[in-house]
């Protein structure tokens, strides 16, 4: 199955309105699961919501949140406001997300799944120059010696607070699993060279906050689905799989899942990972190539006997000019699955 709610959302007469309407969004998510014959009701991938809700705590509007970035270290009162327990109202998108979960949770044959951006990825979206702080931290620069590093760590604290709040709300509204999306936890932000030299930034910035999140999910009896479509090295995949121990690990198309199976415990399902970001282009990704890759992937996963769900490398975005091409390839991918069953 693809992560396909955006495709179905754009069949609504007014997709933007449906995005903020819990009942409509719930129906979209239900239709998505039915369309691709899965009990897993994966929600719309909207990774902006936690940032909007976080910045609302310091009076930044939803409209301004997307372009708002911190450029210098936060004073104590701002940091306290961002990390505090007091609740500002959720934005319309978050309210709709939670209402949609209520809707799905009432349907007996669907498994309600929530979604949130991961703390590290959210931290990178709060900061004007996210890679610099990470790179400086990676070479051992202390927060006392660098405003970039200090701000990054402050953003990470605030981000973790926001993600936890989002996750708790979704569990309250019926989520039985949460898909944590950490696209920034990859080699674009975290240098393998620095890791080989002994840097602990992957542990400090990615694993520690996500391990705390996993503990919170475990305490609530909620499963973790972990998604990272970025470029990764083997130790990253192994850490996600063995230490976060998600029920499903969703990876991007740069990975060969049948090789990753060696790194992943047998009870962690691998999901993905066809290159759906290229589906818009018949030139770059003809349907024959989709069929070839899907067939190869299924055959290799069968050969290594690791549990696997064939799917997309990330959410499949609706591109109006290319919708027929995208849908044709999603259908082709699903047809391969049906043939192989």
């Amino acid at each position: 199955m693809p992560i396909g709610a955006d495709l179905v959302l754009h069949e609504e007469p007014d997709p933007e309105n449906a995005r903020n309407d819990g009942a409509a969004l719930g129906r979209v998510i239900e239709q998505t699961a039915r369309r691709w014959n899965t009990p897993l009701a994966i929600p719309l991938m909207d990774l902006r919501l936690e940032k909007i809700d976080l910045l609302a705590r310091i009076g930044i509007s939803a409209r301004d949140a997307e372009t708002h970035h911190f450029t210098s270290p936060l004073d104590e009162s701002t940091l306290s406001a961002l990390c505090g327990e007091h609740a500002t109202p959720f934005c319309l998108g978050s309210i709709a997300r939670d209402q949609a979960l209520n809707y799905i949770a009432a349907i007996p044959d669907l498994f309600p799944i929530g979604m949130a951006i991961g703390p590290f990825s959210l931290a990178t979206r709060l900061k004007a120059d996210p890679i610099a702080g990470t790179a400086l931290a990676g070479r051992g620069t202390a927060p006392e010696d660098s405003a970039d590093v200090l701000l990054l760590l402050q953003c990470l604290r605030a981000a973790e607070s926001a993600v936890l709040r989002s996750v708790r709300s979704q569990i309250t509204h019926g989520a039985r699993a949460i898909m944590i999306c950490e696209p920034a936890a990859c080699t674009a932000f975290i240098s393998p060279r620095q890791l080989r030299a002994g840097s602990k930034i992957f542990e400090q910035l990615v694993m520690e906050p996500n391990l705390r999140l996993k503990a919170a999910l475990d305490a609530a009896g909620c499963d973790l689905i972990f998604h990272d479509c970025g470029e990764l090295i083997d130790p990253m995949v192994e850490a996600f799989a063995t230490r976060l121990h998600p029920v499903i690990l969703s990876l991007g198309s740069s990975r060969k899942l049948w090789l990753d199976a060696r790194l992943v415990p047998a009870d962690v399902v691998l999901y993905g990972n066809l290159p759906t970001k290229s589906f818009y282009s018949d030139g770059a990704m003809p349907v024959e190539e989709v069929v070839r890759r899907a067939t190869e992937l299924l055959a290799n996963m069968k050969a290594c006997a690791h549990p696997h769900i064939l799917g997309s490398e990330c959410d499949v975005l609706n591109v109006p000019e290319a919708r027929p091409a995208i849908l044709k390839k999603v259908d082709a991918m699903m047809a391969v699955t049906a043939t192989s069953d």
């Binding site: 990470t134 790179a135 070479r139 080699t187 240098s191 818009y280 030139g283 591109v319």
Partner: protein, 214 residues
Amino acid sequence: MAQSKDLYDAILNGDAKKARATTEAALAAGVPPMELIQESMVSAMDEVGRLFEAEEYFVPELLLSARAMKSSLDLLKPLLSASGQKMSARVVIGTVKGDLHDIGKNIVASMLEGGGFEVIDLGTDVSPESFVAAVKERNPQFVCMSALLTVTMPSMKTTIDALKTAGLRTQVKVLVGGAPVTTQYAKEIGADGFSENANGAVSLVKNLLAGEAA
């Protein structure tokens, strides 16, 4: 020359403070700004690019080196302007309309500056009209467009069409990039080139310039 080697090393090692300090020392010692650019900066960034292609450097190293180079270049730019000296080519760069992603675009901009080019960064969410206006006003040789989402990529074609309508298309080479962009897509929309990373973008600009000079 010692100062040139120190600056080269500072940029290669991504040490912005040292890059600035060695630039100040070099200028105080009378080293011409363009010599520092050509002998230290461009060669250091060339080596950074080579290390990136060899997968010994990654995006974080690229960025730290670009920052170090920029900290030096910020000292040199006013001196170059005052003396009327120009960089080898002018590039207008931006993320297309509807797209707010700028990390990749920023890295490309920094690498292009390190490669000795003058860069005019239009930022993000840049409309076709803004690209056209920048070409009219600044007369660049290159327009570089970035998009990170498949839904915003169509703005690249819209911008190319706008350049044609304005009678400016043949004046510039248009290069495109970003995670979902492909060589095939670049050809389909009539771009002159595509690069899948910042280092490739610099090489592409240099090759196209060399092709024009030949």
